[in-house]
Amino acid sequence: MDTTSIIISVTTIVLSLLALGAIYAVMYCLNKEVDKTNR
């Protein structure tokens, strides 16, 4: 793999992990209070 391929791969993996973390964090925060209700 050349340098460009390595940079693209690393950036893609890092951004993807950040996105997954953001999705989890947002859903956790939004549902924390709602889960206390009965619906």
Binding site: T4, I8, T11, T12, I23, M27, L30, V34, R39
Partner: protein, 479 residues
């Protein structure tokens, strides 16, 4: 910020939009008050219609005082000015009648707190006539100052293409996009002003219907931010390729930079508003803290949009310029983001996140649609409602990443035949999500019950719209 008008023409441009776009939004609230039979909201709407009627005075005076400076511009004929004057005069007269009827009914209902149905319908009818006449007045006004809208795409208009574009010669960007942008950009700006007024009044009077209607308006403004930004990019190409006299690329870039911040502001306001609409279902109350967060976002975004509008007005309104236009087109953020994102090392990672966003949206839509169509009937709709934020998060991810991808090659994107339907489908799909968040009948669909027929139609349209968004995006490089 430049919100203080420095000439009659400047004042006319600012104030004349309220009796048109402002009235449209107020009628939205008015309709909500009639449907929910909320007397408090009805009376507030009557009061605002009175306010819009009062605004007809500065609109008329500033319009009359603008005739001289505008008529000095090349191509502005007496016929164009007379047409705008006549439509505006009729519109303002009917608006004054609507305002008088609204003011009378507001005063009459002060003791009982209940406006009469006849008066409410009279004001509604007069307002609708005003809206029709104002649309004609607005259109004839834009024809005065934006004569470029009548131009056809120039045959050799692709001389200055960025690298990677393969649009054949003879296909310049149509001026229809500039026309569309001029109309569309006033909706988020005036919508924010009207929404802020209603939200502050709703918090003060503790009116839940008004709070909800304000949050819906902020969400709609957030959705409209996307086509407004995109049609702005199209307008840039229509005005600069080939270059037009008196159109400065530097002035356009100054406008684009602020438009970018406004897009983020509209997204933050729209999403925070929608989240509170969603949470209300479970908590049965609005959280004061969340409402203040939305209010804060809306106020900041209003500041950004005011500056964006001012910079946009500088592009093609020489009669309101008080300072020289910028000259260095490269001294702005947008051209530098274009250079950066054009590099494959940045484009591919952000495109990956764009696909993540699509998966979130389509997965959420599929789950909602399947329940509404009758599959998973053992689940109440409220259970499916819980996953809506996942889809909205996908939309937010894709607005951000899609905007970056658009900046990589705006000419190619905006001139692709697949791009306009994609943008239209985004607006339709976004508004459909509002339906799933607001429908009382759907929310009350219990386990084992059939969803209402209306919801099935909306579900079908939503599925087709988001499928169209994905298909349109994939077709961009080829059609």
């Amino acid at each position: 910020m430049h919100v203080i008008p420095e000439s009659w023409s400047h004042l006319h441009i600012l104030v004349s939009l309220f009796p048109l776009v402002g009235l449209l939004f107020v009628l939205g609230f008015y309709a909500a008050s009639i449907v929910t039979n909320n007397d408090g909201l009805k009376r507030i709407c009557l009061l605002i219609i009175v306010g819009l009627g009062v605004l007809s005075i500065p609109t008329y005076i500033s319009g009359m005082s603008s005739i001289m400076p505008v008529s000095e511009r090349a191509g502005v004929t007496e016929g164009l000015i007379n047409s705008h004057y006549n439509w505006s005069l009729y519109a303002l007269l009917i608006l004054v009648l609507a305002a008088a009827a609204a003011g009378y009914e507001w005063m009459r209902s002060q003791n009982t707190g209940r406006p009469s149905a006849n008066a409410i319908h009279l004001v509604l009818g007069l307002s609708l006539i005003t809206l029709f006449l104002m649309s004609a007045a607005g259109e004839s006004g834009w024809e005065i100052n934006h004569q470029e809208l009548g131009l056809s795409p120039v045959a050799n208009a692709v001389s200055g293409l960025p690298s990677g574009s393969d649009i054949p010669e003879g296909q310049g960007t149509p001026q229809a996009w500039s026309h569309f942008h001029i109309i569309l950009n006033h909706f988020p700006s005036i919508g924010l002003v009207i929404g802020l007024f209603f939200l502050i009044t709703a918090i003060v009077t503790d009116n839940d219907v008004m709070k909800r209607a304000s949050l819906v308006l902020f969400t709609i403004c957030g959705i409209l931010g996307v086509p407004t930004y995109v049609t702005g990019a199209s307008s840039m190409w229509a005005l600069t390729d080939p270059p037009m006299e008196n159109i400065s690329q530097a002035a356009i870039n100054a406008h684009r930079d602020m438009a970018l911040w406004t897009l983020f502001g509209l997204a933050a306001t729209g999403v925070s508003a929608w989240v509170e609409i969603w949470r209300y279902r479970y908590l049965n109350r609005f959280s004061a803290r969340s409402l203040y967060v939305t209010l804060g976002f809306a106020i900041i975004t209003l500041g950004l949009i005011a500056e964006t509008g001012h910079r946009g007005g500088q592009i093609n309104h020489p009669e309101i310029r008080t300072e020289p236009l910028p000259t260095d087109a490269d001294a702005y953020l947008s051209p530098n983001i274009e250079l950066l994102i054009n590099n494959v090392q940045w484009f591919v990672p952000w495109q990956t996140l764009h696909f993540f966003g699509y998966c979130l949206i389509f997965g959420t839509v599929a789950a909602v649609v399947l329940r509404v169509f009758g599959i998973w009937k053992s689940m109440p709709f409220s259970a499916i409602h819980r996953i809506l934020p996942l889809g909205v998060m996908g939309v937010v991810m894709n607005v951000f990443t899609g905007m970056l991808m658009l900046l990589a090659d705006t000419f190619r994107y905006v001139n692709s035949n697949a791009f306009p339907p994609k943008m239209a489908f985004i607006v339709i799909g976004g508004c459909a999500v509002l339906y799933f968040s607001l429908s009382e009948k759907l929310w009350n669909t219990k386990a084992g019950e059939e969803a209402p027929m209306q919801a099935k139609w909306v579900a079908g349209i939503t599925l087709l719209a988001w499928a169209g968004v994905i298909a349109g995006g994939r077709l961009i490089p080829y059609v």
